[in-house]
């Protein structure tokens, strides 16, 4: 029963995804499509954090580092290669490599949760301050100037292996949405695989997993690297939807946002963080326009309230609520049936008498 529900929910997620993929560009104006593309790129970031945190137990407070590295690597590679096809591949690889190197030091040093969280956050913050200071003309990689706090103008994605044919923003939306869907189903597959289940067992109990003969350092490193690659993919899409990548992707506010998406969406699910990112993207841009309440103030309160009151996040809480209601209805029904049966038995007894 549990299994069939999982399959059902996967199918419905796939259908909703396809509806958005084909429906959104038809029904929305260009501006909305572009901002939806941005939201989707952030959702990919949220997904990557949801994967490593929810299924690998890796508390990474600086997942935006790999997102930003992906965006920057794409911009630099696209400028140097004069096309986007190789740049996308290169950027994903660079983000994954960054995660692998950092992960090696952290996991093979057996850093605990808290240390890991703080180190990853610090990496992001230092990237922020370093890249902000690269505004001079001497800071360039190949022909791409890093541009300090102004960032880099990102050349748009072109048709595969044809650098003269750029994609229009609507088409970038298709690419981003397909990327999200692919990344999502990749993550689902990964969590169902033997690898993913070992990662879950590490989250549950590190010592036991190790005593079964699994090298937990290696598993965590792989998980973290995959997470870094997916975050990097998100960064590429983000850079394309905005048309520019700046050091702000590494700042404290964005690092916090990524955590908040996963917290409110729900740890231990993959769709939760995606929802979290989409909801918060529209909510914060709405609040930003209203200028009634400061966004930091609002996000801070949201984070505190969720940690104290809804620690599981929205999606798991809703599922639980649904299950409880359903089981209550079922028990009510079976109780009624029992009562009926009990009554008829009483009659039989009377007849025997």
């Amino acid at each position: 029963m549990k299994r069939s529900r999982e399959i059902n929910s996967l199918i419905s997620i796939g259908i909703v995804g396809l509806i958005i993929l084909f429906g959104a560009p038809l029904s929305l104006d260009l501006f909305s499509v572009i901002s939806l593309t941005t939201a989707i790129s952030l959702a990919i970031l949220a997904l990557s954090l949801g994967l490593i945190w929810g299924f690998g137990g890796i508390l990474c407070f600086g997942q935006t580092a790999f997102f930003g590295i992906g965006g920057y690597a794409y911009a630099i590679a696209a400028l140097n290669f004069g096309g986007s096809t190789g740049a996308i591949i290169a950027a994903v690889l660079v983000a994954a490599a960054a995660a692998a190197i950092l992960g090696y030091f952290m996991f093979y040093g057996r850093l605990s949760d808290v240390y890991l969280a703080v180190i990853t956050l610090t990496v992001t913050l230092i990237l922020y301050s370093v890249i902000r200071r690269t505004s001079g003309p001497e800071y360039k990689i190949g022909i791409a100037k890093l541009g300090g706090f102004n960032g880099i103008n990102v050349p748009p994605i072109n048709y595969p292996w044809d650098a003269t044919q750029f994609l229009y923003p609507e088409h970038v939306f298709y690419v981003a949405m397909v990327a999200l869907l692919l990344a999502y189903f990749l993550c689902v597959w990964l969590t169902k695989s033997h690898f993913g289940r070992v990662c879950v067992s590490i989250r549950e109990n590190e010592v036991r997993t190790e005593l079964l003969g699994y090298d937990i350092r290696f598993y965590k490193l792989c998980m973290f690297t995959v997470g870094g690659a997916i975050a990097g993919l998100g960064g590429i899409m983000f850079a394309n939807s905005i048309g520019r990548i700046t050091p702000d992707v590494f700042n404290l506010y964005n690092a916090a946002l990524a955590i908040i998406w996963v917290i409110i969406g729900g740890r231990g699910t993959l769709i939760g963080p995606v929802f979290g990112a989409l909801i918060l993207f529209y909510l914060t841009s709405f609040l930003g326009r209203q200028a009634v309440v400061n966004i930091n103030l609002f996000l801070g309160l949201v984070l505190i309230v969720f940690v104290l009151v809804v620690p599981k996040g929205i999606v798991p809480s809703l599922v639980e609520l649904w299950d409880r209601r359903k089981s209550r209805r079922m028990t009510a029904r079976s109780a009624r049936r029992m009562r009926r049966r009990g009554r008829s038995r009483v009659k039989e007894v009377q007849v025997e008498d």
């Binding site: 508390l59 407070f61 950092l102 030091f105 952290m106 093979y108 040093g109 057996r110 850093l111 605990s112 949760d113 808290v114 240390y115 969280a117 703080v118 180190i119 956050l121 610090t122 990496v123 913050l125 230092i126 922020y128 301050s129 370093v130 200071r133 690269t134 700042n251 404290l252 506010y253 916090a256 955590i259 917290i263 309440v293 400061n294 966004i295 930091n296 103030l297 609002f298 996000l299 801070g300 309160l301 949201v302 984070l303 505190i304 940690v307 104290l308 620690p311």
Partner: protein, 289 residues
Amino acid sequence: MDLFAALALQIIYGIANLVLISIGLAVIFGMMRVINLAHGEFLMLGGYTVIVATNNGVNIWIAMFIFAPLIVGIIGLIVEWCLIRFLYGRMVDTLLATWGLSLFFIGLITTIFGAQTATTISPPFGAITIGDYSSSGYELFLIFIAILAVALVYLLFRYTKLGLVARGTMQGADMAASLGVSTQRVYSTTFGIGAALSGLAGGLLAPITGVLPTIGAIYIGKAFITVISGGTAILAGTASASILLGAVNGIVAFVVGPTMGEVALLLLAIVLLRLMPQGITGRFFKRSL
């Protein structure tokens, strides 16, 4: 020779700066094994306290040494009472909640004072010169204060009853509790003291850095790596990590440039933690304070 003296002074100031910005965090981490992600905002609040107080005619020394630690210390106590005490033993949740708190304070201060730099104050000392090089007298003063702060924390934990109880709780909270120590009270006091020290540091640094609602972000990276590289021994950890990281940062910054100094600091800390996952004091000076 003058160059060497000036460089040495610069490095010592760098170390003192690390001590100042991380000692409040270290006290809380050492005692409660909690990393307070709102630490940067405690520093920021210290800075705002000094600026608001001096703008309202309070003497700058009183603002720095009394108002800043007192007000931020009280805020710390309130935070502990409203939030942290619900989360003891849940390290990850504490991290998340204090991060929420950090955002909350940034938002609150932005709402009250605006997102731009508040009126700055000038350092109460002029420059001093070493041969051809000039150095800020205020930086020398901060070096002195950093040493004083370390001494103060040492005396507090070594020779007062509070310190004894606190050290007992550090060694084993359960044992201390069974001897009738209220760990709850120890923790809230610790949190207050940690916040007060952060407020003091924030106030002292305000004349140099100015204040912004988001200024906490520039401190916390350095403070975090200092404290976790140091490990859980409050003073030995902070001191050893500050000296090591501060020296490397200073030398690299001098040779290559300030940006690379920060990168070197981070890389050194990561390599250090690969070799000593429990921090420097997890390997050496285990029993020290």
